[in-house]
Symmetry: C2
Subunit: 861 residues, 2 copies
């Protein structure tokens, strides 16, 4: 490339250690935290250039775009183009940023317009080998500081000022940057490994993020006209980055809109389509496909595949002669790049406008569940652009529009579990299941995903008791099914006679009720509601058909208060004879200890339950089922029920042949630190319901598991004896596929590093010391932590307490500003992570909460 | 390649026109029907070889495999290897089948074992240009018959017999076939176009299917040890086939297990992963990835990506020297191909075993909905291996194991709509939505798929009346939500006072009931059940909590009988004053005619409804809502209600300020030939429920639409006034994405060729003459056809009639043998296609039904 330099009349090449080092310290520093807050600037078009293969001309496209943007600039209308090459191998002999820098300069000088222009090329970090190659051997090399990731901080810089026809005023500026360079011209993961400088993904992302903001963020508000950023990837879409992570996965947290440089050669249609699909399978939006012509008319099948929804642009054939300076090619391509630029600009503007208008449109079209629309003004509507693992990417207007990150601490109504890797694998599996099966009829049929899922459920949460899986769509339907199962079994066991034709009672009127706990919640359909005690959800205003068909007992609850676990007994159970040492515990484990069954408290529980059942049994009504949420009453306010009480309940019902239903819709699949809450309780049900986290949180699916004895109560010679309940998408293939993947993922120590105790438990996720401190906070009434759940109740009285309360709103708002998306349950707030979330992230969450609690209580003082 | 021939000592090259022509007439004929029955032979391993790009060595892998399979054969253990190249361009100069044939012969002669061997190479069809090139110009060319698809039938054939060391007995046989050849060495779609011989996908698939069966199907039973088939694709996975259809889509109906030949070069990791993903996105199973080494250790990131679940094999570097005969390379690769063969064999055996065991496992683990397990022995369990558009691919054991095709005529509980193209696009969209969003919290938030879906619903089925979309998971929950909406509105409009804290009635006890029609069905959860009249589903045996909270009217029904549409009035409506001409119609359209509102019948309907409402209103109960399934009572037995009656019902309720609910769960989205059944009825509801077909049939999602007036009844200053109902996956991104895609697809004449009447209707799908004939059949009580629905009731009495009846079982079994999967509703059977299904296919279905009806009635005579 030395023939080149003749052209660069105004070039000034510098090695500005001091000047640039300061620069660098702002733009690149090693991140110390295990997490990175992602912020994407929407003040101007920012795109990522992907290639369907290596050598398809990504850098030519970058150059053409830069020239197109900058050449239309005038001194009255200045433009600035940032070109970033995060990962460069073969460096410095190969340098795409230098290529863009040089070619742009050549093009500028050839086309020379009114305004002047500045171009620069920066190289930030490189392996020792590449640094040596760039800077020459000797003392210079020794001077270079080595950053923590083992790379050399280069601070290498070259610049060229180019005069326009008539003015000295700079109309346009090109800033090219190579962030990381390795010497060998091989895949980055290999080069990094061989040159002893493997860098972590988070470090790379942080460097890239700083680079993207640097020079753009001038503190001004609104859209920055004339500024463009372009990030060029290395190799193909799924080529590994320096750590080995595929680039399409590596850059996913930014989810920048994409330009795909396709392949115009023979076989290039296939490669281009497959690359497009790999990007789609990571949730990227592709704004245009572009490739150079090889006379094969590849654009026709591509457009047909894309159904003309994504533009396909064809560049003139790139001269194969190495000595060609490409100036004529760039001239010929000028209008194509001009079109590409326009498409990119309008896609950017459309996206921005859509994001800005979404809150209004949402308020005009949606009817949100559990939401008083009058209390949701436009400005508090959250626009979710995407999710990546546990984090939402949220649109916000601060100074300018940005996409920022919020941890989904409500786990999207307790459904979420995937980390970023699981999310991507689930996405691929969802595509596969939809392509292989779509949905197929379940009854009397069998297909792989349904069978695998049933097998896994029965070997997992159902192990040791369940032998049948009945599928439905959500927790509420799973509960209705469970009730039907239980009642039939009860009728069967208690000799209740039914007419085989009408299905009606032969003898007399008789009413089935359930035994349940006050404060438990089993869903929103009528049958599920009937099994819960009267509450805000069940009044005539909400459900005129609700009657409350149950015997509802007040349960004792447990929680952390002032640093230790306490039991709170309902009035009816309070007695002076109970010893205090039975009522305070040092750890949660003690609460689950089986030895408690021989305590005074256990006897007291047992007596109480027996009394209540006896009182009830005098009437015409029968208790046809026990239904409980094991351990935690979730929607009821994240109350932890004394597990001993639930154990005694199960025991007493077993003695009376009352079928036992566990509602594990919330508690199942590691939500509470074990695969099932039944395992924590240490007793098994006859029927149990699962949903939410079962599919890893991507798709609705529910299952009701039952013992063979329950199943047998439905066998008979007539179809009318069968359980005549079912939903259209019973055991749908995608749901079962997701469940299979998620259940295995959560359970496997290879994919879930939180798994301990020979696969039986999650390690402690919430920092014990911090939890202790929070429990001492004067604004805090009680704390509960178990598995992935951290909950606290704020001290509140009167209208400030209960489900309808808005007391926690200000705290919630502050935490959302801290990047924590939570939703209160009245004056109860909770943080919920996934089974794979690292304890570090959990600690960050409760630290933020702790800090904000002080502010909150001061404001409320 | 002439240097080659020296080696081929035993070669006999023939042009056996007469002999082979007969052969051909069996193996390749032009299909006349518009559909093809797919049958995949599982008697032996059959694989498809795909390439991640062109020129990655698919044919080398095919050759190596052939050699590996055949070289282990002995005379005691003969083997036969079929190699098929369906599409060859650059032919005959390039011929992969000839390459395999020749290289195998060379390898055989080099390794020469005990047994002898026969190898042959066939070329079946070619473009005129390619044929001329192969056979030489002149008279021969003229003799060649031109097949209907414009190609020449070649019947070109070469054969070589190779002697083993000790015996004359043939131990192994290689049969290589090229089905279609084009001369130009370009993409098949271009070559076919340029050489004037574009062939249809169905013709190609039929040719391939014949080829796959020919020589294999010897009438023997069970597994055919020693036989292998390998089909090699052209170019990359998504390279277009001759018609332009991408090959991964083209061959999808067979869904053969795949071997992916990856790319070991720089950038090859990306291309290999993307190709893998494109195959997964079509539902293919990839058994192994193999590629040749370029020193880049590409297998490490590939294995990491695949999490070691799919084996990756690395071949020695392929010599780049064109003169190399590759014999040493094949020697070096021998053990790799041996391993590949073993993996393929064991994957084949595992699949076979799994398929065979599935019915038993299903019976052991599943609890099917609406199924009396005692009536489902193992042998009637259907094993569904996949679906492709409207067809199931079903495992059957006839002589040997096969995968055969059944039209999903129950539309998998009325959910299905996609054709094969929509299914593939939906799969890609599902992957994208899962990757971009997974699932995110809905209330107070907005994200693109939910907003787009809500907008489309309100502009489509809700056009002109609805302004709010409330999402849930299935029809049943959508109904429960609708009822809550209606009751609140009714309270609001009728001044029913409620306590603002408890939500309970202030004044007196009061009961809300619904006005509904006998025989309608709204779902299986308690609230939905309460809104339907007593039936087999509602007795104490099934739902002890059911009380039937409705005023249920018997509706007049309409149906085709003896060739014309008739009205059947319930007893209470029968009157001598009604004129017969009001009761018989020549066409279904007449029934929907608005002018009927001024008829005697309309007045009679109106009077009856008014009387019933007046009688009821004397009590403490209020009619808080009207709920109807517009036009068709689906689960109730596919009864069509006189639309005039439903119109009068709506009118009377409007007059009394009773909110009107349409249950369009079954009827919505073109099921009945219009986007909504409300459109057919010609009147709009206040609330309507949608599910099933809404997502195109891939994923559960439901919506309850409402007017702004309904929505306003929930506004207030307290959260407790809001509609406190919601399911965890409310408005989940995948469901909304699928709905958006499907709704647009069904509506767009570009994607749905059935759309007529300026987008308002589907054309008639069921052949009128055949329907007429069937309605005359003595075994048939009544017929209903509307939109995608064809239903008939078999004449039956006593136990043979009704939901519990097994009367139709034998007819259902016969039709399943004919490749039509249907499920009866007692003595009612129905066929249901998708909105895009061609009328030709629908006619085939009812023809088959018509034929089997004769057999059925003879057997029952």
């Amino acid at each position: 490339m030395s023939a080149f330099s003749a052209l660069l009349q105004n070039s000034r090449r510098r090695l500005l250690y001091n000047l640039f080092s300061r620069h660098c310290s702002r733009c690149i520093s090693t991140p110390s935290s295990s997490s990175l807050e992602i912020n994407v600037d929407l003040s101007h078009p920012t795109y990522m250039v992907w290639g369907s293969n290596t050598g398809v001309g990504k850098t030519l496209v970058s150059t053409g775009l830069a020239a197109s943007v900058l050449s239309s600039a005038a001194s009255s209308n200045p433009a600035k183009f940032f070109y970033i090459k995060p990962v460069q191998t073969g460096f410095p002999a190969d340098s795409d940023s230098r290529f863009v820098y040089r070619k742009f300069s050549e093009i500028f000088l050839r086309r020379r317009g009114q305004a002047s222009s500045v171009a620069s090329n920066h190289a930030l970090k490189a392996s020792a080998l590449a640094a040596k190659e760039l800077l020459g051997a000797g003392s210079e090399d020794e001077k270079l500081e080595r950053s923590e990731d083992g790379l050399k901080n280069l601070c290498w810089y070259e610049e060229m000022r180019m005069r326009g026809e008539e003015t000295q005023v700079v109309g346009s500026e090109l800033v090219c940057k190579t962030i990381y360079g390795w010497k060998e011209a091989i895949s980055p993961h290999l080069a990094a490994e061989r040159e002893g400088t493997v860098i972590q993904d988070l470090n790379l992302l942080e460097s890239l993020q700083r680079c993207m903001w640097l020079g753009v963020d001038d503190g001004s508000n609104g859209r920055k006209e004339g500024i463009w950023s372009l990030i060029e990837t290395a190799g193909g879409v799924a080529s590994p980055g320096p750590s080995g992570t595929l680039q399409c996965d590596l850059y996913r947290p930014f989810r920048l809109p994409a330009i795909l440089v396709g392949d115009g050669r023979l076989g290039g249609i296939s490669g281009t389509i497959s690359a497009y699909e790999s990007l789609k399978l990571r949730g990227y939006d592709i704004v245009a496909v572009i490739f150079d012509d090889h006379g094969l008319i590849n654009e026709v099948p591509l457009l047909s595949y894309l159904r003309h929804r994504v533009p396909v642009l064809v560049l003139p054939p790139v001269p194969q002669d190495q000595s060609d300076n490409l100036m004529e090619w760039f001239d010929e391509s000028q209008s194509i790049f001009g079109s590409l630029k326009e498409m990119m600009l309008s896609a950017y503007l459309e996206r921005l406008q859509r994001l800005q208008n979404m809150p209004k449109k949402a308020r005009d079209n949606f009817w949100w569940p559990f939401t008083q629309h009058k209390l949701v003004p436009e400005e508090i509507v959250t626009v979710i652009d995407s999710r990546c693992g546990e984090n939402f990417a949220v649109h916000k207007v601060q100074n300018a529009d940005i996409i920022t990150q919020q941890f989904d601490a409500c786990a999207s109504w307790w459904t979420q579990g995937p980390d970023t890797t699981l999310q991507i694998e689930l996405a691929r599996d969802m595509g596969y299941a939809a392509a292989r099966f779509g949905h197929v009829m379940f009854p009397e049929n069998v297909y792989e995903p349904a069978l695998l899922c049933a097998e896994l459920l029965l070997e997992g949460v159902g192990k040791g008791w369940a032998s049948r899986a009945f599928f439905s769509d959500n927790g509420s339907t799973a509960i209705e099914i469970a009730l039907k199962m239980a009642f039939r079994k009860f009728s069967h066991d208690h000799g209740i006679l039914l007419d085989s034709v009408t299905g009606n009672l032969v003898e007399r009127s008789l009413v089935f009720k359930v035994l349940a706990l006050s404060g438990s919640y089993h869903g929103d359909t009528l049958g599920a509601m009937e099994a819960q005690a009267p509450s805000s959800y069940t009044g005539f205003l909400q459900q005129p058909w609700y009657t409350g068909r149950g015997l509802f007992l007040d349960p004792p609850t447990v929680f952390i208060c002032n640093g230790s676990w306490n039991i709170s007994l309902p009035e009816v159970l309070q007695s002076k004879s109970l010893k205090l040492e039975n009522m305070i515990f040092n750890s949660c484990e003690e609460l689950f200890n089986g030895s408690r069954e021989s305590s005074d408290l256990a006897r007291s529980y047992s007596t109480y339950i027996t009394q209540q059942l006896c009182l009830f049994l005098g009437s015409e009504d029968h208790i046809g089922a026990l239904i409980i949420e094991p351990v935690i009453h979730a929607a009821g306010g994240m109350h932890m029920v004394d597990p001993l009480f639930q154990r005694m309940l199960v025991k007493e019902c077993r003695n009376r042949k009352i079928p036992v239903i566990f509602d594990e819709v919330f508690t199942g699949f590691w939500r509470l630190g074990a695969e099932s809450a039944a395992e924590l309780l240490g007793c098994t049900p006859d029927i149990a319901c699962y949903a939410k986290l079962m599919t890893g949180g991507v798709i609705p699916l529910a299952a009701t598991l039952a013992t063979e004895a329950i199943f047998d109560a439905f066998k008979g010679d007539s179809k009318l004896m069968a359980l005549l309940h079912g939903h259209s998408y019973s055991a749908h293939a995608m749901g079962c596929t997701a469940a299979t993947k998620a259940i295995r993922w959560f359970k496997d120590p290879q994919t879930n590093s939180n798994i301990i105790a020979r696969g039986r438990r999650l390690r402690e996720l919430w920092d014990a010391k911090l939890v202790h401190q929070i429990s001492l906070h004067p604004a805090v009434q009680r704390v509960v932590t178990l598995g992935t759940l951290f909950a606290l109740e704020l001290c509140a009285e009167g209208h400030d307490a209960g489900y309808g309360s808005l007391y926690a709103s200000s705290l919630v708002r502050m935490l959302r500003e801290d990047g924590v998306y939570l939703r209160p349950l009245g004056n109860v707030i909770y943080l919920m992570c996934g089974p794979c979330t690292s304890p570090q992230i959990c600690s960050q969450l409760i630290s933020k909460l702790h800090r904000r609690l002080n502010e909150f209580s001061q404001a409320n003082a």
